[in-house]
Point group: C2
Chain length 247, copies 2
DNA sequence: GCGATTCTTCCGCAGAGCGGAAGCGATGTC
DNA sequence: GACATCGCTTCCGCTCTGCGGAAGAATCGC
């Protein structure tokens, strides 16, 4: 294992659930000898990738946050999409999420939540399997067929009794998404909610998806036009002056 | 120079102005031999810290963005402050910013901008000298006196004819901030605007500051109560259940 | 088609990084 | 107050890893 990999391993030790770690904890998680960890962490802290809390424990530093903020698929996408997400949020008063595909999972880039909206699991920066969510279906429907094969070859994770786990049935859903342009996921993550998603494109193809999360008892099709309009708006913003996200 | 430092150097080559770089560009910026750069970049890309665009160029990857999102002083702070920032923004319809101190500079963590508000330089993730901005004054006024000495020992950068560059005068301003609780910076960054800032505390002391950016012709004192109320709200949220940001 | 430019692969040498050992300092226990 | 425990830091000699020159492949521009 190379030094670079060790360094990245140290960064990877920090998670949503454990954003603050002591030296020993980092050493244990990475299975690197304490001395090695000590040296690496020291270098990371000197640069600003990690910071020391008063307690002596380490947390992810501001400098790394700054660099992370340069990820075109993270903040770049978020910045351009924000106005449209806000409009959709304002009009409907429901949770709105924006996500991208990374391997077989979706990564949430932004979430706008209302006080009075249904509860929701995702958080900006968190991951979910691509199969069960509105955004996930929208992204998979337009993804490389080879990726879809790979995803469906593995057993699909179940969240509720309503979660669709049959590969053939999922393929049918994906076809429907391609036909109608919207992805509807009913009670697949939580029984109280369902989501209506749509893909977002830049000049190169589908790069993200947004969805609205609404109560299970409402009619999802009623939200389709608004979701589609927002998705188109973002797509237009991405195809605009500065071209695609990648450049 | 250690490998870890080299790795971080590569990450540091990506900036706001140049978020997408080719291998050769990275090599030139870091002054690392092309072969070395090639190897490091390869390892970073394998982990997900960097991604390859279709063009073959590299950009900051989603995985690094995720880890960066764990920075308590970045996203953690932002999440808890957001509702209060939104309220302030909604009520006043002016730009609202949230920032933390990093060395002698302020780093903007969030910015809410209105279509009809005055223009603004900052962007989430960008840096500014601490001396001339509303947030900067609010943070410096409650910072370690030794830091203030260090900041004022260096020549202060001038943005407009109204920028205060005299150390003694800046000290007087800081005193006033401590006395009144609000920091007012008039036309110091741009002649069309001024800002009203206030410090945000957690259990350990001042950790951030927010400010509102309003047109130069308005009366800044009129905004002080609203700004203070928002700052207090965020402070309360930070001192709450889960304690300080650091933990 | 041909030179210029950028990217990738290969490999032998050298010194950077590794990690065991030992010492330090804080906290908890009897 | 003495002792044990646990976590952090410093030190240093051996070894294996990462270094980067060279050469070749791929792509671009004229």
């Amino acid at each position: 294992m190379s030094v670079a990999a060790r360094v990245l391993d140290v960064l990877g030790a920090f998670t949503d659930a454990t954003p603050v770690l002591t030296l020993t904890e980092i050493s244990r998680r990475t299975r690197l000898p304490l001395t090695t960890t000590h040296r690496l962490v020291g270098e990371l802290a000197a640069w600003g990738a990690l910071e020391r809390a008063e307690s002596g424990a380490y947390r992810v530093g501001l400098r790394l946050w700054e660099v992370g903020s340069l990820a075109p698929r993270g903040v770049g996408l978020r910045e351009r999409a924000m106005p449209y997400l806000e409009d959709l949020h304002e009009v409907t008063r429901h949770n709105v999420v924006l996500a991208v595909l990374d391997g077989a999972e979706v990564v949430y880039v932004e979430r706008l939540s209302a006080h009075d909206a249904v509860s929701i699991r995702s958080r900006a920066g968190s991951r979910m399997p691509a199969t069960a969510t509105g955004v996930g279906l929208a992204l998979l429907a337009h993804a490389d067929p080879e990726l879809v094969d790979r995803v469906l070859a593995a057993p699909v994770r179940r969240f509720t009794p309503a979660t669709v786990v049959d590969p053939a049935e999922i393929r049918r859903l994906l076809g429907e998404v391609r036909r109608t342009g919207v992805a509807i996921s009913v009670q697949q993550i939580e029984l109280v909610s369902q989501s209506v998603g749509a893909p977002v494109r830049d000049a190169t193809g589908v790069v993200a998806a947004l969805s609205i999360v609404v109560p299970a008892e409402s009619n999802p099709h009623a939200y389709a036009p608004a979701v589609l309009a927002a998705a188109r708006g973002i797509s237009r913003a991405l195809t605009g002056v500065n071209g695609a996200l990648a450049r």
